[in-house]
Amino acid sequence: MIYHINVSSVLRKTVCDLYTNLVTRPTGVAVREAIMAALAEQPYPNVAIIDFAQVKLLDFSCADEVVGKLLDAYRDSDDGRPLHYFRIRGVHEGHLEAIEEVLKVYNLAVIVEDEAGVIRLVGTIDDGARRAWQVVNLHGRIMPQEIERELGEPPEGATSVLNDLSARRLVMRRADGYVSLPQAL
């Protein structure tokens, strides 16, 4: 299931209905806790779309709480079989600066869709894994053999890189292959 979270709406409901900026740590904590409470009620596996489209400003402290700590909390929560996936949407360059900084701090990567709809992978990830993710994203669903063919990876390397992407919740591993998040559910 795909679950859409409008961060601006969460901000207005949980902190103040006049705010359009996601600033200060207490605000970030309140928004993150509201998101986590909402996610706890969703069936899984699920892909949460964290939508920043209506948020004017995101500062580092809020990015740390709403992106860094949120993703970090789910990193090891599913006993090695990911049930919660995340995509970030509606970000502009200003948001992205803060998000990239916090991803670095937590050694995380996440799929981001900007205001123009362009999808990319941001955060801490090596070039090989990034290329493999691009292949998955291009095809929607692949088997390790396609990574071998397209990237010239040896069989064990292709499986390993895909499993790593799956463990990091950047692709979904299913019986029929490794699936990009937009096509997963």
């Binding site: 103040c16 705010y19 359009t20 900026n21 600033v23 200060t24 740590r25 207490p26 605000t27 004017k56 400003l57 995101l58 500062d59 580092f60 402290s61 740390d64 709480e65 860094g68 700590k69 360059e93 200003g94 600066e97 803060a98 900084e101 916090v102 701090v105 937590y106």
Partner: protein, 296 residues
């Protein structure tokens, strides 16, 4: 007995040290009068630091403001008297507020910051005006408005998270003739709270070195991004501020206790670290962003 502390004619982050030097030998419970009658100009740092100073004394500080109408009127429009009348025992003429007299150089009049909501308020208020000044007048790229508001948010949050008392923020633009000959936008954020050294000391299990002092606490917080909180995302706010200031060829200075650290751009000749200054509790931050000029 009342000790008279003379405010210099031009009050900025450097000349404010003269105020503190005069104040240093005066016992905390002794009455002082801050005499700004001959002051003709003040930076936002000077005004917010004066308010901070009022919070640090054991007895209420007396204050007499600038004699020149132009200066007094400017201080009024910058929001100084709004809080000065609450903090100081006022002497002499206090200019009346004129609601219609908007000051185009004041991006953000002096504003009290004590809680998270105050930071939201500051950020909401600065955005529209910052766009006009930063992009159209200081020739910074449009993203600068966003980064500027983020910077303001992070430095104001330092008060909320660490000061444990009310602090003050102000943002103004002016022509910086002395060193630069260009327009600048200046953010000043001052509080009389616990300061960086005590804030870092409050971290559980923190081992302090033999030379632990205000200067080292500033180096830890400003240069190394150390925070009293243990979780990894802490300390990023000031690191982000440092990064932005560097990108704008700007200057960041942070004073706390008896030390002051500065990230100094090429257009300035300030010292990166000053120690053994006259004491002032809390933290006082100044960010100076110069007008961008075309490369020749």
């Amino acid at each position: 007995m009342t000790t008279v502390i003379t405010v210099p004619p031009s009050l900025d982050d450097h000349s404010f040290e003269q105020v503190l030097e005069q104040l240093a030998p005066v016992p905390l419970d002794q009455k002082v009068l801050i005499d700004a009658r001959h002051t003709r100009w003040s930076s936002p740092y000077g005004l917010t630091a004066l308010l901070t100073l009022a919070q640090t004394r054991g007895t209420q500080v007396a204050f007499t403001g600038p004699e020149t109408e132009e200066t007094a009127s400017y201080w009024q429009r910058a929001g100084f008297y709004r809080y000065a009348e609450e903090l100081f025992e006022m002497h002499g003429h206090v200019p009346r507020a004129r609601p219609s007299a908007a000051e185009s150089n004041v991006l953000l009049e002096i504003t009290a910051v004590a809680k998270s909501d105050d930071v939201h308020d500051v950020v909401e208020r600065i955005q529209a005006k910052a766009q006009q000044i930063l992009v159209n007048e200081l020739n910074l790229d449009p993203m600068a408005t966003m980064r500027f508001a983020m910077t303001l948010s992070e430095v104001c949050q330092n008060i909320v998270e660490h000061a444990q008392t009310t602090g003050w923020v102000a943002v103004q633009t002016y022509r910086y003739r002395q060193r630069l000959g260009r327009r600048v936008v200046v953010i000043a954020v001052c509080d009389a709270g616990i300061g960086f050294r005590r804030s870092l000391e409050s971290a559980q299990g923190r081992k302090l070195s033999d030379r632990w002092d205000d200067a080292m606490a500033l180096e830890d917080a400003v240069i190394r991004g150390v925070s009293r909180f243990r979780d990894p995302g802490r300390g990023q706010g000031l690191a982000g501020v440092r990064r932005y200031v560097g990108r704008w060829d700007g200057k960041l200075s942070v004073r706390s206790g008896t030390a002051r650290i500065a990230i100094v751009p090429s257009w300035d000749d300030d010292l990166p670290l000053r120690e053994q200054l006259s004491p002032l509790p809390g933290a006082q931050v100044q960010i100076t962003i110069p007008e961008r000029v075309a490369q020749r």
